[in-house]
Amino acid sequence: MANLPLSSQIINLCAAVLLLVSFAMLSQRRVLSLVQLFALQGAVLCLSTITVAWTAGRSELYVSAAVTLALKVLLLPYILHRLIRALNARWETELLLNVPATMLVGLLLVIFSFGLAQPISQLAATVTRSTLGIAIAVVMLSFLMMITRRKAVTQVIGFLAMENGLFFAATSATYGMPMVVELGVALDVLVAMLILGVFFFQIREQFDSLDLRNLEALKEE
């Protein structure tokens, strides 16, 4: 570690924090805290993007960082916050898998992700290559979170966290995608969030709750 430049150390730190936040999200039952963790995740992401932009001298990454800040740190958590208050869905009542077991699976996933990233990282020329494994791990953990949660809101937060992981992968492995794509992705995420917001209201209108157990009627009996 010692011989790494400061920027890399910062990025690595960010990566570690991201991973930590992901685990925190995995174990967190309070929905509002989850939103805060999500905002934190976005902030760390923003920080790491700025660092990458500064280190690599890629000016368009500043734009990305700004979009991230606006969207993932401010706008989306705000929308979520409002939604949760409006829908009165503060608590995740129960998980499909208890927390220790989830953590254990998460740990295995992290090992798996690191193993997966190993051959790719060796090819990467960027300063941030070692963080690719963490990016994959974040994606996987978000996936796990979506699987284990029963509330529609938490599932969406998991979905957004996964998006964060992807974004982190994009910046850490390749200094970001072309701008058009970045913007397109951001637009999609925003629109998705809006649509989901509408959905929450409709679901609650129909079922009086956001519990996903209400959404198990369509099946092969």
């Binding site: 090819l123 637009l187 999609d188 209400n214 959404l215 369509l218």
Partner: protein, 483 residues
Amino acid sequence: MELLILLCIPLLGAVLLALVGERDWAPEANSLMSFATFAAGAALTVRVIGSGPMLAFHEQFFVDPFNVFLVALTAFVGFTTSLFSRPYMRVEQHHGRLNRSQLRLYHSMYQLFTFTMLLALLTNNMGILWVAMEGATLTTVLLVSLYRTPNGLEAAWKYFILCGVGIAQALFGTILLYFAAEKVLGAEGTTALLWTHLNQVKGELEPVVLSLAFVFLLVGYGTKVGLVPLHNWLPDAHAEGPTPVSAVLSGLLLNVALYAVVRCKVLVEGSLHNGMAGRLMMAFGLTSVVVAAFFLWRQKDIKRLFAYSSIEHMGIVTFAFGMGGPVANFAALLHMTVHSLTKSAIFFAVGHAAQKAGTQMIEQIHGLLKLSPTVGWGLMLGSLAILGLPPFGVFASEFLILTTAMRDHPWAAPILLLALGVAFAAIFSRVQSMVFGEPSLSRLPHAPALLPVFAHLLLVLALGLFIPPYLAGWYRLAAKLIG
């Protein structure tokens, strides 16, 4: 130029219909827009056939025989579906299942969906392809949940989450692709995600990265194709949305998603040279065919039934693309075409039948032939066509796929045939009980639009007996492109 018009018309239409989509003449406007799109698509097709592949707008758009054929198909099915949806949506409104604002949403999203489909097909940028696919998901989510019923919401939610997660994997795959390409093409330009460039240098791309990328891309776009075991959203979304949406989902969206997979496969195969991508696709395809065939046995809802049939056929096409080679690719393209035409025709007929019966439950629909012979025959012939009975075109493509399978992978042919047999028994027994027997239906306030049904079936029939040389040549070119 045609390209720009082609993309602008549906976008304009979406905006326009978002404003006036609740008017009485909105369905006609929708059809008109779709027709204009179709005309532009036809013009583009003619041009590409005449002067070969083209690039446009800083290489951001790209048209070759492979995608132009899908563009033409998409525009055509989009147009005929809009024709079908005119009386259909009017009847829905009449029955009070839809209000005016929902109708406006429907029309606007219909056009937007067409736009995203065309964008996904025409773009040269793998990133934009992803954006368009996600856009298509978003528009169709709104379409699926149009009725705001509990089941509709559930279906839309599942569709959204599953496809959203799936497509996130595809984004990761795209990132990895970019990661690999960047080393060869350089990060400075924006060329590193352009398919034409990637295709030129595919031999130099890093195999390890590409194989990982392909896994993510396959799982991602494969979710949208409806490959088993990623298919779970598909039957729900098909069954709960309005029937025109089911028709375009089956007829177009699945094709476009598969198109994305195939584009990726071309790159990956070019880099890996070990047939891994093909084998994966074959495995997914075969699983889908077999599992879907058995799923068909448990269906009580007519639209779900045909949704599973779509999974089955997408499995067949995926399998064929997985096998690769000129004949299999040719057959797969042909199968895509005839499946789109046939399945949308079936959904048209099913839509009318379900409206007449006031239910989608198979057990409660009888004697279509007696009360409405044209709808009955449309459904019957469409089902027979989709089941691969000659002289319909589906048989032609299945014949080619099966014979190729016998040659290249003899073990797969009996499995495919068995699944086809199981599917035959399942679908036919149900359709027969609906079409035949004592009638249980009522009349509708608007005359059904049967022109699209029989136009599609006639095309499919013609393709079974005679494939015009220029069409065959075009398929061959496309098949060669895919390799």
